[in-house]
């Protein structure tokens, strides 16, 4: 009796994340999946019910036409590809910025480390929307950046950054950078300094020791950071909507248009389900490879 108590507590503790995932992830997803198999109608809700009672007979109608439609339309395919491209390029940009940043912070003294990490996190204390709007006022044709460069005489006419893909990259890299910095920093700051000394002792210059020991050992942090930014960036809506132009259609905006402009919930849901499939397959592959190499 006494022994089973902590066991019960531990089980309850494990149930918490599963419960969370079931209520806040699995159920909404099942709803979206259900809607994607329905067909559109006028009214509230704007889709046909999936099942109906005919006397004592339960009839379920699953409509796959939405998926056929989405897969057959070039617009959607293009939006998927654009999202993947934007996510891939901005992930690469963030990695290039975040790794040296995390490495620099990790090699500081413990006292200044926590202060620097605090500085990385501090933008989160204001709303993301406000920060994106702030970027609009910086990047506008008559914005801060352009007036500064014009006044300094570096450029003679304003740079057109606002409503371009460049603005999207700036916004996304700015918004998501901490998610890349933190896992890499956590990994690097926990690394064993004597391993570097061992590499140096065995003939490595500082640079060689970095590439042969520090970097390979930090790959887990890099992978975690990439996953943490790549996945949400694919579905990102706010930044491309506010900073981007009409020519860069990402999937998040496509879903928004289907839901709210076209009020075609079934098609919007089908786009969402396909997006999830696109994202889940590489993650599962990655996870199985990771668990195999760590064995």
């Amino acid at each position: 009796m006494m022994q089973s108590k902590p066991d019960l507590g531990r089980r309850a503790l494990v149930l918490v994340p599963y419960g969370w995932l079931a209520v806040f992830f699995l159920m909404p997803f099942l709803l979206v999946l259900a809607i994607s198999l329905s067909s559109v109608r006028l009214g509230m809700p704007p889709y046909e019910p999936l099942y109906a009672w005919q006397g004592s007979l339960l009839s379920i109608r699953l409509n796959l036409e939405n998926f056929v439609f989405v897969l057959g339309e070039n617009t959607y395919l293009l939006a998927y590809l654009t999202s993947l491209k934007v996510a891939a390029i901005s992930t690469a940009l963030m990695l290039a910025i975040a790794y040296p940043l995390a490495y620099g912070i990790a090699s500081c003294s413990p006292g200044s480390r926590s202060f620097l990490i605090f500085l990385v996190i501090v933008p989160f204390w204001s709303s993301m929307l406000i920060r994106v709007y702030a970027w609009m006022s910086i990047l506008r044709n008559d914005g801060l950046l352009n007036s500064l460069l014009l006044n300094l005489g570096i450029i003679s006419e304003p740079l057109r950054i606002m409503n371009t893909e460049t603005a999207i990259y700036i916004g996304i890299v700015y918004t998501y950078l901490p998610f890349m910095v933190l896992p890499i920093y956590a990994n690097l700051s926990a690394s064993d300094r004597t391993l570097i000394e061992a590499a140096r002792d065995l003939g490595c210059s500082r640079i060689a020791a970095f590439w042969r020991v520090t970097f390979p050992l930090s790959l887990r942090g890099v992978a975690a950071g990439c996953a943490l930014v790549f996945i949400p960036v694919i579905g990102e809506f706010v930044v491309p909507d506010l900073l981007g132009g009409a020519d860069t259609q990402m999937i998040g905006r496509t879903i928004w248009i289907e839901f709210f402009n076209n009020r075609d919930w079934p098609v919007a849901s089908a786009v969402t389900v396909l997006l999830l499939v696109i994202l889940v397959i590489p993650i599962v592959l990655f996870q199985t490879r990771l668990s195999r190499t760590s064995k």
């Binding site: 064993d192 000394e197 061992a198 140096r200 002792d201 065995l202 042969r212 050992l217």
Partner: protein
Amino acid sequence: MLQSYVSIENLSKSFGLFSAVDDVSIGIGKGEFFSLLGPSGCGKSTLLRMIAGFETPTSGVVRLDGDEVTDVPAHRRPTNMMFQSYALFPHLSVGKNIAFGLQQDRLASGEIRQRVSEVAEKLQLTALLDRKPQQLSGGQRQRVALARALVKRPKVLLLDEPLGALDKNLRTETQHELVRLQRELGLTFIIVTHDQHEAMTVSSRIAIMRQGKVLQIGSPAEVYETPVSRYVAKFLGEANVFEGGSARRSGNELKIESAEAGGSVLATASDHISTNGRYWVSVRPERVELSKQGTGLEGVIEQFSYAGAGRHYRVRLKSGATLDARRVNSGAQDDLSVGDTVFASWMPQAARLLAD
């Protein structure tokens, strides 16, 4: 100190106000198994790290095989280090760990393979080459760390508490293994340890360090038999130390009155120590003879402990001081027990006079 293979000259290292190594000079010959021995914080590891090139000396010079290397970075020194934590690369297999240094030197892959398999055979690692360090036992990891350093054929192998993480039996075994390897390869080993038994077992010579300074350098027998100070005498095993008073000389023997011991004790006059100032008499417990009748310092056995190979007695002398004595466990019946009145004595040669 002329023609030393490793020559440490007036080496000092301070961290802020703290002086970790303070004006140390040591000469180590080629093929020596040299120990830096001392309690933690005595500067022995800092000294080793300066030889390896991980710390820059505040002042002084390090020479290896005649060349000054004081400012040569670690990766260009002909030394290799075996780390206390072993510092094996967790992302590489045992084979790749061992080959790491050779690959860095850009040797041909055929030669790398040959040298790795050679050293692996010597250290019984051949069957483990494809494993990851995490899959090895402590003893196996220790051998990989040793192999990784040895495969580079360093002029000097530096070992920082190499056996600290092993259990006692394996440690004794490995000490003999290290000595055998060192003789076979003819390499110069410098080992850092806080374990006096380990230093005695493996070394050709020992430097005893305390608070950044070297107190004494000598062979295990020299430092044990003729310690230069009370500190060294007590650090290397046990010692009974009594302050000496007036001394009377007859021939080569000294008869010393000691108020602390509560009587007169014997010593030889061969120690070059003036008995006019303060001085001390030191005797090892195993040189003390206890008998129920006779002459010597009178006391009562206060404690007895049976330690397998020996029997330890703690005697409370009449003066109030304690005296430790040890008898070899020869299997004979013990005639002494707690509470017995005994007389402690020793041969004059057993005692050492110390000025500090």
